[in-house]
Symmetry: C2
Subunit: 360 residues, 2 copies
């Protein structure tokens, strides 16, 4: 088992290990005073993981109840939060209880948000079950739900008491979702850690074959990098924006396609665009795009705009991100592989040029 510490205002630890789920019952009392647990999950993960976890918790003397909702982003809304809360109230969950988020990023975001507002806040713990959730969404304390007007528009910053990452549960994860998580790992490598990037280059095929050793390594390194960033910038005032590498254009692409694209695929294309832009603007001190594209291709991730998306259409979708960042569009570019730079308001023509290059 490997352990990482996140140094937020209320620090907490991330535990990583194969088969770790079975150790949760004996570890939980270190971070929770209560034995009354609401397991929040989706209907898929309920059958695959949550029922088993509930059973071993019950056997260890915990009082547990599972609350689930239909899987998928469409459930990530306030109606789900209200329904879960109402069920929990009726089931007698009070301030002395805690929430376990067992699932992918949707479950983590919904359950974390619920925990942050239920009776004005109860403790919660993350048990991420997708690679994306294990390397990204379960760490950092961002919670939230979508509105019809956009994603993650309502939410809180609320840190979990602990994160339990058992990569053993990934065996049932569809390959497309494994790739989805790998895109974020490439992000950490390309923007923050050349060693991780080169590890991905060395282990691409083993990762796609779900080998546990390289999975453990990339999860550990990704969480370490995210924990470092989040520890220095809990509420995304500055440094935390580095995690947006590939996401600025990725979000625009998702919006342009009305979210009919996997997040990781959009991020992959976004990273390629950012890498090429780094070269075009003379920010890059070594070639970065070619190696990045080669790695993404080996991981089965796209490196070109999907058919039907006109390059000219994308910049309009950048304004949403722009608003959020005090009127300026800060892009994350690469000086070299493993080293990012912030770049403010890149010229529109260069952006368009690059988007044209990568359109098919």
């Amino acid at each position: 088992m490997r352990v990482l510490r996140v140094e937020t205002a209320e620090p907490y630890e991330i535990l990583i290990g194969g088969g770790l789920l079975t150790e949760i019952p004996q570890d939980l009392p270190q971070v929770l005073e209560t034995r009354h647990l609401a397991l929040i999950t989706d209907e898929t993960v309920r059958d695959l993981v949550a029922e088993d976890l509930a059973r071993i918790l019950t056997e260890a003397g915990f009082r547990t109840e599972i609350f689930s909702f239909p899987p998928g982003e469409a459930s990530k809304n306030m109606e789900t939060v209200v329904q879960l809360s109402r069920s929990m109230v009726r089931a007698g969950f009070d301030r002395r209880s805690a929430v376990l988020a067992v699932g992918g990023g949707v479950v983590g975001d919904v359950a974390g948000f619920l925990a942050s507002i239920y009776l004005r806040g109860v403790p919660y713990v993350q048990v991420p079950t997708t690679l994306l959730a294990q390397v990204d969404s379960s760490v950092g304390g961002k919670t939230g739900v979508d509105l019809p007007e956009g994603k993650n528009l309502l939410g809180t910053f609320y840190q979990p008491r602990r994160v339990y990452i058992d990569y053993g549960v990934l065996t049932t994860l569809p390959l497309s979702h494994l790739r989805n998580g790998l895109a974020e790992v490439v992000k950490y490598g390309a923007a923050l850690d050349r060693g991780l990037f080169e590890f991905l280059e060395a282990q691409a095929e083993a990762l796609l074959a779900y080998h546990p050793e390289p999975l453990e390594e990339i999860i550990y390194q990704s969480c370490r990098l995210k924990a470092e960033v989040v520890s220095r910038d809990e509420r995304e005032a500055g440094l935390r924006r580095v995690l947006n590498f590939g996401h600025t254009l990725g979000h625009a692409l998702e919006a342009a396609l009305n979210y009919q694209i996997l997040h990781g695929e959009a991020v992959a294309v976004g990273m390629v665009a950012a890498a090429r832009l780094s070269e075009a603007l003379g920010v890059a001190e070594e070639p970065v795009a070619e190696r990045l594209e080669a790695l993404l291709l080996r991981l089965g991730l796209p490196v070109r705009l999907p058919e039907g998306v006109a390059p000219e259409a994308l910049p309009a979708f950048l304004s949403a991100d722009k608003k959020v960042w005090h009127g300026r569009l800060t892009m994350v570019l690469l000086r070299r592989l493993g080293e990012f730079v912030f770049y403010e308001d890149p010229p529109r023509e260069s952006l368009l040029e690059v988007l044209k290059e990568i359109s098919i």
Copy 2:
């Protein structure tokens, strides 16, 4: 103008003055970096106060927009929060904007909650317009909404940047709502400040006639007392429970009557019961109930259980409070007027005895 400081993790000030609303535009820049303001209010307060406030803010160069909902507790739910958020997103409110809560306790709780989750948190300011909101709900940072299963079940602790209390707006407040706020002032006096209690005895009629001087005094003293309590206990782990004087039985009464009673009226009866219980259990070192009842009667507040409420029915409704307090029912009793004591799990028979005494 009088100024009070609340020493929470993020400290803030309460400004109190007649006609203070007109000074908001010049003061706001001290606590907000933005000039983009969402005024959240209810439809009654919109006409009485918010439109005027929006006008003077606009004249002073702020970009303001009013978002309102139907008045009353029935609006205090997640649906209202979602509708308001959606309108704000569509109107272009981003992280660089702020929320002004202009209204009674319902508006304050809804708008404060909204501010705490909108884009994971934007700053907000309270402009309370009922006496209850001015002496109680606008101070302390408790926000939230109701579920069909109970009141205030979802919410956050989120402190405002400033509280502007203009008692000039109370002239339009119906007498029943003035009384509703006075009940909370009696609470502060009886539990925490004999001077305030005696001031109420001296000024009861002037208060009911909406005289500004005594109104300013009781608002100031109430906010001072609440600010002191909240500064020492931001998240209601201990001392903050003193604010529950009269509320334990008050809540039970509200629940028993399905909230068809004004909160202040329920609290008045609850205080009488608590005072009598203090005497019955030998906690009181001087007679407390008689003077309390006399004051409440002069203020037009009830001192007996409403017709149709059986004393035997009430204890069952105490369990909700009990759950919240780690399985024990901590009641706030009186040693003398102006001095409280916490008392755990009072004997059920004594409680019933007292309730029978005050049933008609």
